[in-house]
Every structure is written in C-alpha cells, then in structure tokens.
C-alpha cells in the first residue's frame, strides 16, 4: 500500500533508481500577501528590512549552491518579538526561514522569498552555573563566542562543530559533530532544555521532563517544529589537548583503526582526515596525561599507522619508482608546509599541549578547507558500512576533483536520547556508534559551476542510496533522499505532526518535507 503523500512518478516506477525525488530547489514564494503583512508588522512594531542591499547579503548560505532572495529580513531581538512575528506570519501565510551563522550547505537557511529571520540578534550568554556545570544562552550566539565566555571561568562546552561561526540554535536543530563526538555524542546531545517559539507563536520551555514531545521534535528536527531561542547546555571543565597523529597510505586500515579506537573508548578525540587518498591522517587526542599514557602503552602499537618520519620515508620510496606522480608529491609537500604549522601554532602550544582547540581548529578549517563554497556532501552510516562508504565516496571525489579531503568521525549514540533521533540523520540501524564521512573538494584555484558541484553531490548521495545509509546534512537540496533513508512511514508521521503544529506550513518550509 502506498503511504507516501508525494505524487506518483508518472514516468515509470523505477525511474532514477526508484528514489521518490522531490523538488529540491523550491519554487520562490510569489509574495501575494506581502504588503498587507508588512503593514501588520509595522503596526506591531516589528522592524523589517526589505531594501535589496539589506536582503541581498542573505542570498545564499555557506554551501553557495542554493540562491534565494527573501522579501524581507527581521533581526530577532527576543522570544516575544519572534512570537509576534510568527503569529502574523501564520495569519498571512508568509514563509519564515530562520538563519543563524548561515553555515548550512543545502540551502536550509536560504529564503526562497518570504521572511528571513536572522537569529544573530539574540547572542548573549544568560547565566553560567559553575557548580552544576550548566550554561543558559541565547540561541543566536556563535560557538566561538560561547567558548570565549566559558573560558573566562575555566569551562568548555562538550562538543561543537569545527566551523565555530555556526549558531548554537542552528547546530542543535541538526546535530553537530566534533572530533570528540565519539565520546560525547553529537552537539545536540549536550542540551538539557530549550526555550522554543512554536510555529504558531507560543513561547514554550521544553526538556525531556517538561513538554517532552516538543523537545524531541525540536532537537535534531531541522527547524520544523519551532525556533530555538534559548538553550541550557551541559558543560565541563576546560582541558588542554594532547595531540597525536598517525599516518596511513590507504583508507581501509585507517577507518578500521578508527573504529577500533572508538570501540575501546581509549581516546578522548578521534578523527580521520585525508590529505590525499594515499596520505591519510588519524588524529587522536587526550584530555589528561593518564589517558594519554594508558593509550600509548597499549593501543599505539596496535595501530597500523606510521609516525611522521616513517611515513615520509615510505612516501619518498613510493614516489621514487613512480616519478610521473611528482605533482602529487609536490602537493603533499606544499600541504605539509602550509597546514602543519597552523594545526600546531606555537602561541597555542605549551608543554606539548594545545591550548584552545576551538580557536586552532576553527581557524585551520576555514583557512585550509573552507573555500568559496563549502561543498561537503556526506554520508552517515552504522559501523559496518563505513569502510565501503568511505571507499566508494572517495572514488566519486577522484572522478570530479584532483584534490579533496575526507573527514570521518564516530558519533556515540546515547541510549537515553533514542527518542530525539527519530527524524534525524542518525542512521536507524546504527547501534552504539554512528559514523559520518564528509567529502570535500579543494578547488585549487579552479572554478566550478554550481551546477557541476551539485552533480558531484548527487553522485555522493547516490552512493548512500545504494548502500542504504543516512546523511548528516538532510535538508533543502537533498530532501529527495530523506524518504529513502528513513522510510515513508517515519516521514509521513512527522509530516502530519508538522501540519498540526504549523497549519500554514510556513516555518522553514522546503527543508525536509
């Protein structure tokens, strides 16, 4: 029996591999009620910016593939302010798209007409409880700003995305992964409670104990069920980092070692980062000397990776009998020269420990990986499929780009948070750990059209269809895949919930439904 509310594919059932694809570049809202709506906003004292030079800066997101111009922009000032806006938007059926740092890559924070709600107007830390290790913050704050505030008291968040100009609210809405996600889970797992403005304009406090149904939907909910205005997060004492790198010449052993380390929980931070598919780095790091010593004594020799010198010699030997690969050798040398000093900058290192990984990593990420457009399609899987995913995704990258990076981390799943994960990127067949791998081209001065980058992303996502994985970046331009990964039942169930919570279907529409 057909459960899907999508129109049947009239071409043929098995067209495009049978994936029920949906329009991913949404049709622009045509603005029929716009003038009445603006008048009502003005009467309610809500300022709207609708000049082209004001709306034009929001035309795209960090992904740079989706471009859409909002009719007007509202900068959030308070929950009450947003609640007023949402009530009027429901009444006039005007779409509202929320945006924090705009670091989405699938057009989730791009408004194809309607109102763009800029959350960065709400960016204050409200209170810090040093004893209970809890922070309450407005949700439009960027992670680096939160980190700076916490550092003053010797504190740290549990986990945040490496691109620290993403907002707290936006991250909690999608997940967020870090190199310590194998220990702490995704960024959304550190939330204790939220203040949310619902699509109909009510202000509700929610947590696992209070209004839990709303909490479960808002966490990892792609902004469908409410706008996060404030968040209470679990925090921890700040610790400097003890870093080690191991080098691999092929993907499989590196990913297998990563899986083994995550299972053992012997490291506080783990992640795989490739320079090329023949030069792969496994990063491990520790919060304390005891953990580091214990790891070095038992696990170091069980890893198949090399130290820096050993790997350099191996590479040199490799290139010496394949001289036509000199370009690759040059690239690696150049990469080493540029990258390594930035990953271990002298002014952040003391006694071999890195002080403030947040600052170091986020700067390095933007400098060496962030380019004109953050094109980072990804696949999220259980532990069994990650090796195949990495290898096949790598083959797609190789077809499109001379140079690219793979970034792969484990995410510890919290049994007590199972109910949060239902309509999320967490693969439903993952037990204990989920794995995410991002595939990021390095443009190297070459210009690619949006259209060709989209083809690349589609091809990565099709690997996911084939291997029945999930995707970390559900949303916007890849919503056609969500039914494939989660099944029609789950999507239709949530669509019904969405229709009940947001009768005019105006809040962040076109993102997943």
């Amino acid at each position: 029996m057909r459960i899907s509310s999508l129109p049947k594919d009239v071409v043929a059932e098995d067209s495009l591999q049978g994936i029920p694809r949906q329009q991913t570049n949404p049709t622009r809202w045509q603005g029929e009620q716009w003038h009445d709506f603006v008048q009502a906003l003005q009467d309610a004292g809500i300022a709207i910016r609708d000049k082209h030079f004001q709306t034009g800066v929001y035309i795209t997101d960090a992904g740079g593939l989706a471009h859409g111009l909002p009719h007007g922009v509202v900068v959030a000032t308070s929950a009450e302010h947003i609640a007023n806006l949402m009530q009027l938007a429901q009444q006039f059926e005007v779409p509202v798209t929320t945006r924090g740092g705009g670091l989405t890559t699938e057009g989730e924070s791009v408004a194809f007409g309607g109102v763009l709600l800029d959350m960065t107007g709400m960016s204050r830390v409200l209170s810090i409880d040093k004893d209970a290790l809890i922070v309450r913050t407005q949700a439009g704050i960027f992670w680096h700003h939160l980190a700076e505030t916490l550092r003053r008291d010797g504190l740290d968040y549990l986990s945040a995305p490496l691109n620290l100009t993403s907002s707290v609210g936006g991250t909690l809405g999608v997940g967020g992964i870090d190199v310590n996600s194998s220990k702490h889970g995704c960024s959304a797992d550190q939330v204790l409670s939220l203040q949310v403005v619902t699509p109909t304009g009510e202000i509700v406090e929610c947590s696992d104990a209070e209004n839990s149904a709303l909490f479960e939907r808002v966490i990892l909910g792609y902004g469908q069920f409410g706008i996060i205005t404030e968040a209470t997060l679990k925090i921890r004492p700040y610790t400097p980092l003890r870093m080690h790198y191991f080098y691999y010449s092929s993907l499989r052993p590196c990913v297998e070692d990563l899986l083994m380390l995550d299972q053992s929980q012997s490291c506080d931070y783990t992640g795989m980062l490739t320079m090329m598919d023949s030069a792969i780095t496994l990063l491990v790091a520790f919060d304390s000397e005891e953990r580091e010593t214990a790891f070095m004594a038992y696990y170091q020799e069980r890893l198949r990776g090399y130290g820096e010198l050993g790997f350099a010699l191996r590479l040199a030997a490799n290139f010496s009998w394949r001289p036509w690969k000199w370009k690759e050798a040059l690239f690696l040398l150049q990469r080493k020269r540029e990258l390594f000093p930035d990953l271990e900058p002298a002014h952040h290192i003391q006694d071999g420990q890195m002080y403030d990984r947040a600052a170091v990593f986020s700067k390095a990420v933007w400098k060496h990986w962030g380019d004109r457009q953050m094109v980072i399609p990804d696949l999220a899987t259980n532990a069994d499929k990650i090796v195949a995913v990495v290898e096949r995704g790598n083959a797609v990258c190789r077809k499109y780009f001379p140079y690219y990076t793979l970034y792969c981390v484990g995410i510890r799943l919290r049994d007590e948070h199972q109910s949060h994960y239902e309509l999320s990127s967490i693969p439903s067949d993952a037990k204990g750990f989920a794995y995410g791998c991002e595939f990021e081209p390095m443009y190297h001065g070459q210009v690619y059209s949006r259209d060709s980058l989209q083809s690349f992303k589609n091809e990565i996502y099709d690997v996911g269809v084939d291997l029945e994985t999930s995707y970390y970046r559900f949303g916007g331009m890849m919503k056609g895949y969500i039914r494939q990964a989660l099944g029609d039942d789950v999507v239709e169930k949530h669509l019904k919930l969405k229709q009940a919570a947001d009768p005019a279907m105006i809040l962040n529409r076109d993102v997943i439904f």
Binding site: V10, V11, A12, S15, L16, Q22, T27, G68, S449, D451
Partner: protein, 404 residues
C-alpha cells in the same frame, strides 16, 4: 522604457532553467517567445536521466500531461547494416518521453518568470551598462526593453546569436532532421527503446520510436537534400530489413534545422559582453542527439553566472565561460573516442553492451561504425577530434580558445 534585470529570448527548457535561477535570486526576468504558448516543438522528446533529475529537482514532479505515450524510455537500441543490434539501458532507470509543447510550458510556468509570448525578438544593442532589446508583439508596434543582461535561449538558428555573429550559421554545417508519424500495422521494434541506425546509406541521423500509438520514422541529413525522398527510402528499409509494417505517413510531418558539429570539435558560442547564448544555440548536443539535458544545465549555468556577476560586481562573460567549462567537458567527452573507450561519458553503458557480444560480432559492429563515421568525412572533424582527445588527456580540460 521599461527596465528589467534580464531578458531571455525563447521559452524552451534552457530558458526555464535560466529563469528559475534568476527569479529565485529576486531578479526581474522577462521571457520573449515568438509563438503563442503553449507552442509546438519538434523533438523526439526522449530525455536523459540527468535531464530528468534536473526537472524534478528544480520544477517538481512531472505532471502526466507533459508526457507522451509510452511515458518512459528504457534506453537506446543501435542497429547496424550487418543486421546486428545492441540495446543499452539508461543508468538509473527509464527516462521521460516529454511532450515538448506541454513540458516546456510547464517548466516556464514553474520558473515564475514573466512571459511575453507571441512576441519576436528583433534586435539588441549593448553598452557597458546594459542591453537595449527591441521586440514586437504580433500585429503590434516594436517596443524596447532595457535590460542588464540578455540571454539567447532560442535554439539552433538563434536570432540572438545572429545579432552578434551575422554569418555564424553560414560558416558551420547545418543539418536537417525531420520526422513523420505512421499508424502501425506491425512493428517488431521494442517500444520501450529509442532506436538508432548506424547506416551510411540511410543518412547522418536515422531513428525510430513509438509515440501515442504511432511510429516515428525520423531522418537527419546535411541541409540541401529532399526530406520526402529520404524518408521514403528509410521507411522502405525498415520494412524490408526489420519487418516494420506501417501505414503511409500522416499529414503532420515536421522538420527543423540542427547545428550538430560544435559539440564534437569544441566550437561553442557563448555570447559577447552582456549577451549570453545558452542551450542548443551554443552547439550543445549529446551523442544520441539529445539536447534537452544540456539545455537545462547550460541554461541554469547562464542564470547562475548572471547572479554571480551581479553579486560580485564582475563582468559576466568570463564568469559564464568558467562556469560552463564543466558542461563543455561533459558534452564533448561524449564524442571523444578516448573517453568513449576508457571512461563512461554516456548515460548508458556502451562498452559493456559491446563486450557482451561475441568477439566476431564485435569486430563486424566496429567495422559498421567505421563505415558510418566515414559519412562525416567531408566535415573534416576527425583530426580536430583527435587533437581534442589528446588535449583532454594531457591538460584535463578542453581549450577555451575556440569558443566564440
């Protein structure tokens, strides 16, 4: 005088894709179409999987009315003079059989651009600030629109292209393709496939497939020969060799000019200054003669280039040429013998189908293809194609020096 951001000439798939990108970015976009919409369009209507995907991603699920019967096509079947045949399924499943009259109109409507139909493009004049576009509504006075950019998405004999390069169409070989529709008495050709003949006697481009209960007999050849004679010859061949029994052709036969060479030899035209050429007008054509997927993608690239140019306050032509390079690679790769042999530039697996045949048949078939290719000898494309293949191998790209 009315001022707009962009004028697009033509209401085709390329135009709809460009319009989509422009309208999304909030640009005021006007489409000029010389016929009344929805308008008839001569086309086989078999879209590639890539084009199908583009339509869904940008315009949503296809409505039934934009499709012919059979609604889909599984792949292509090649026929050879030696009477060998080989079938290849499209990667990713069957593709739509578009009814261009309604498909194009649907896509244009979904783009939400403003349409002025029944309106012919007359001329353009550009300066550093914009383009003055003169047009005329049928039976009305000529009028002028002042636009920041003009896009020519007006097909192989593009009037916009002619306004930039008046002699262009005389300087390249032009072909004629025509199709006639027959009631079927008995047709053993599988209606799930698009059929193509590698036969030098039949013509440069010979095809057949089912549509709405009739069979299409299509012929393509260099401009200057007689359509009805060529068609009669092909229909007779189909009957004698393949047992295709058809009633005499119905009265609604049709034909049009095609520019078929530029994709082979990388001599595309992308415009000048603030005037961009896109779609089939540039010369984009896939190997089975499918131009729709190239049209959609190149149209989108024209649109995004204008958005980028305005966003970064830069000249649009260099941006367009950088962006379009990927589409050039994709299309010209399909004609590149090295790519055909060692990569998979097409959307169906030719090498696999070939290797599935017995060795003896393979040799016969390759000989047949060679005889067919010799038909194109007079255009002197061989050496250029060989040079391009080596160029692609060594520098990973095709040169932009030949582009207009």
């Amino acid at each position: 005088m009315r001022q707009v951001d962009v004028v697009i000439v033509g209401a085709s798939l390329a135009a709809s894709a460009a319009a989509k990108r422009l309208v999304d970015a909030g640009l005021e976009t006007v489409i000029l179409e010389k016929q009344k919409l929805p308008r008839h369009k001569i086309c086989s209507g078999i879209l590639s999987p890539r084009g199908h995907r583009f339509l869904i991603e940008n315009f949503g699920a296809l409505p039934r009315k934009v499709l012919h019967e059979p609604t889909s096509c599984k792949g292509v079947t090649f026929h050879f003079p030696s009477m060998l045949s080989m079938s290849m399924d499209f990667f990713g499943g069957p593709t739509p059989h578009l009814h261009r009259k309604y498909a194009d109109h649907w896509a244009i409507e979904q783009s939400h651009a403003e349409v002025m139909d029944d309106t012919s493009f007359l001329s353009q004049q550009q300066d550093e600030h914009g383009v003055l576009v003169t047009a005329r509504k049928k039976g009305g006075e000529a009028f002028t629109l002042k636009a920041k950019y003009l896009i020519g998405a007006d097909g192989p004999v593009s009037p916009v292209l002619r306004s930039l390069y008046p002699t262009y169409h005389k300087d390249i070989p032009m072909f004629f393709v025509g199709q006639k529709f027959h009631e079927i008495i008995d047709c053993p050709l599988d209606e799930g496939y698009f059929h193509f003949w590698f036969h030098p006697d039949l013509g440069h481009y010979t095809w057949s497939h089912a549509r709405d209960g009739r069979q299409i007999v299509g012929v393509g050849y260099k401009v200057g020969q007689k359509f009805h004679e060529r068609h009669a010859y092909v229909a007779k061949y189909f009957e004698e060799k393949h047992g295709v029994k058809l009633k005499p052709a119905d009265a609604d036969h049709e034909g049009c000019s095609e520019n078929f060479g530029p994709s082979l030899i990388n001599r595309y035209v992308f415009g000048k200054g603030r005037v961009l050429i896109t779609g089939q007008a540039t010369g984009f054509l896939n190997m089975i003669g499918e131009g729709m997927s190239c049209a959609l993608h190149s149209g989108a690239i024209a649109g995004e280039s204008i958005v980028d140019g305005m966003l970064h306050n830069q000249a649009v032509q260099p941006i367009y040429r950088q962006n379009i390079a990927s589409e050039v690679r994709r299309t010209t790769d399909q004609w590149n013998p090295l790519k055909i042999a060692f990569a998979k530039p097409h959307e169906a697996d030719f090498p696999k189908a070939l290797m599935a045949m017995p060795l003896k048949d393979r040799l016969i078939l390759l000989k047949d293809i060679w005889h067919f290719v010799k038909l194109y000898k007079e255009f002197k494309w061989g050496r250029q194609l060989a040079t391009l293949s080596v160029q692609r191998l060594l520098r990973g790209d095709y040169s932009q020096n030949n582009w207009l």
